[in-house]
Symmetry: C2
Subunit: 393 residues, 2 copies
């Protein structure tokens, strides 16, 4: 019987972390060992807090550390991953951060299972084929419309047929400035390029402020308007969806299947965006993909870090031919680039696919990655609960 | 101008933490200092992970530590608390644990403001009067129906006119055992005592399993059935609500206003239960109380620890006369009892009220509390981010 013998975490960080919002400043890798095999996964968001959720002392019966439900568990098949997930849901019910650390571990378990069975994860999920996806270059608005124009031209020069602009100054000054930003993005891209707009929850739950931007978004032919509101502000999403001919996109903040389901059912989005590194991993992401398909909503990955995370995020909808768009970090920081030993490069026609290789099909370049390794030490009651390991190799 | 000069955290723990689920094994106190005054608050759930969320390094622009939005901020009135909360919502968007640490700090800010204005918090919230509440003794089912019966008799002996039984073996063996448990609770309490049943999310999202228990719950006249499902499983709540003449209660897991709103609107509960130590503090809890009142849903506090937390949880609905029921820890562990220097004891008729005293109206017995203080040390990149202080006094 194969059991989970060890789970190690590697907190990697750029030498300098900025507020830019380009999403690639740090990373938390999870490595799982079982039965002589190793699997890798990546968590999204605060490495320190996520590690703490794995090793913290038990607060009470419904607030146990995630590690208590993982270490020593049987790992023969996908049903074991689901069983562990259910255990965490009960035993770490009051530990809000739990899904954020479990996500990376869950992905690593799938990677390990895929290696054990010599199958890509998408096959373990029941897909027969991994359909190619059209990657969109995901990048930030410039500080000025001129900068945004230049970035759009640059993305086209790299042959991207789809580009997303996000965050930056949108919603932070006035309507006219935003309109100029939207126009510059379209002008720089030209007519035929798909254009998505992401405003990073800037309107909170202010429907009127978001609605003012709709006519221009319609005019420039935006594929979607992403995250006008707080992840939980479903009533605001529903109100805006009613007024909008541009489809809404959201869901990256979903930390379990149900939250994504509510974004679909009550927020009335046209695109559901799932980050496998937050929602609890590949299992719940696949469940969202199935649910979205049944509801006529398009599934899109949310990925802003390494190609390990990118492969993990493609698996849940690899077999859905019609859900073709995929997020693709355009200009990753060196860390995000260096984590993976191989990359999901675009083919001659500009498409990418989840690899037809065991597990995630991504190797970790431990030698390079460990240059970014951050020292962490967590002690409680005089006991060392976590110390960073430099044993990546 | 008054600014927030310091925020200190005190992780207190029972010498031994058990899986019992009686909710009182550890506690995290937050102390805020501003302009020569001090306020106290209490967070609910994992102290270590919550502390990490306050001090963690920035991961990226939308994943900053909660402390960055709090320290040095202006604190003149409630509008400042709301402003800081909005800042955290944006800057710690990707930090799932953020509301759990912010809750305790937010409560401490209200306590401090109340002291500055020499007003109870419920007055700062706009209420003119603090209506008395009928406390229910919150306790666990026994391992056997016989034990449950004995606990029910004991609660009546302490003159409780309302009692809640929760967790324990319910849903873990068979239907008949659960039925016997429910019957024993009612028999031990006698006919006239209010009886609530809490099953601690044991049915996941399995509506049929929960529905099987309804006839008996109706027969014993249960006031509500609490948390049959996962906090996020709103469709399951809605399905069960349709079948049930017993009202449903849920919401303690809500980590922001919107989540509680969805439990009301999409889960169709009759009672919305809010833990101020998780939902982001007193501000969002009051917003839920207002929303619930408008929707004809009854607000109830969720409190399972100290009387500091109890006072904080009463403030948001102190002025709502018709929402009369309140959760009241029946047999707190010594730690939970010792944190507070004064207690909200029941009056001659068995009622409790939010105190008519500045702030929360609760003093902290620092001398006794600090006997439970836990050593914590968090280091990242060689820098000490947190060290427990023994400077409570």
């Amino acid at each position: 019987m194969r059991t989970i013998e060890a789970v190690d975490f590697f907190y990697l960080s750029m030498p300098e972390v900025t507020t830019e919002g380009d999403g690639s400043q740090d990373a938390l890798l999870a490595r799982v060992a079982a039965g002589g095999l190793v699997g890798w996964g990546e968590c999204e968001a605060s490495p320190l807090v996520s590690i703490a959720a794995f090793v913290c002392p038990m607060s009470h019966g419904a607030c146990r550390p995630v590690g208590a439900s993982v270490l020593g568990q049987r790992l023969e098949g996908p049903e074991d991953i689901a069983r562990i997930a259910a255990q965490i849901e009960l035993d770490s019910m009051d530990l809000l951060q739990a899904p954020h650390i479990w996500s990376g571990v869950e992905i690593a378990l799938w990677d390990l299972l895929g290696k054990a069975r010599e199958q890509p994860i998408w096959r373990l999920l029941g897909y027969r084929q991994s359909f190619r996806k059209l990657p969109y270059a995901s990048q930030l608005f410039g500080d000025t419309p001129g900068q945004t124009y230049a970035r759009a031209v640059e993305a086209r020069r790299h042959n991207f047929r789809a580009v997303k602009f996000g965050w930056g100054p949108i919603g932070r000054s006035d309507l006219q400035t935003d309109i100029e930003q939207f126009e510059s993005a379209r002008e720089g891209l030209g007519k035929d390029c798909l254009l998505m707009i992401d405003v990073g929850q800037i309107f909170g739950d202010n429907v009127a402020a978001a609605a003012e931007r709709l006519p221009k978004l319609t005019q420039i032919g935006a594929v979607w308007l992403e995250e006008p509101f707080h992840t939980s502000a479903l009533n605001a999403y529903a109100s805006l969806a009613k007024k909008s001919s541009v489809k809404l996109a959201a869901g990256e903040g979903a930390h379990n299947f149900h939250v994504a389901q509510h974004v679909i059912d009550f927020g009335h989005v046209g695109y559901i965006q799932v980050d496998g590194g937050r929602i609890g991993g590949i299992g719940p992401a696949k469940r969202v993909a199935d649910y979205a398909a049944a509801k006529g909503v398009t599934f899109v990955n949310h990925t802003f870090t390494s190609h390990l995370a990118l492969s993990a995020s493609l698996q849940p909808y690899a077999g859905l031919r019609s859900d073709e768009i995929c997020e693709y970090p355009f200009a990753p920081k060196p860390l995000a680039r260096h984590i993976a030993g191989n990359h999901l490069e675009r083919d001659a026609e500009g498409y990418v696919s989840a690899p037809d290789a065991p597990g995630l099909g991504i190797t970790i370049d431990t030698e390079v990655a460990q240059r970014y390794l951050v020292d962490v030490e967590i002690k409680v009651k005089g006991k060392l609960l976590f110390a960073s390991s430099n044993q990546m190799i």
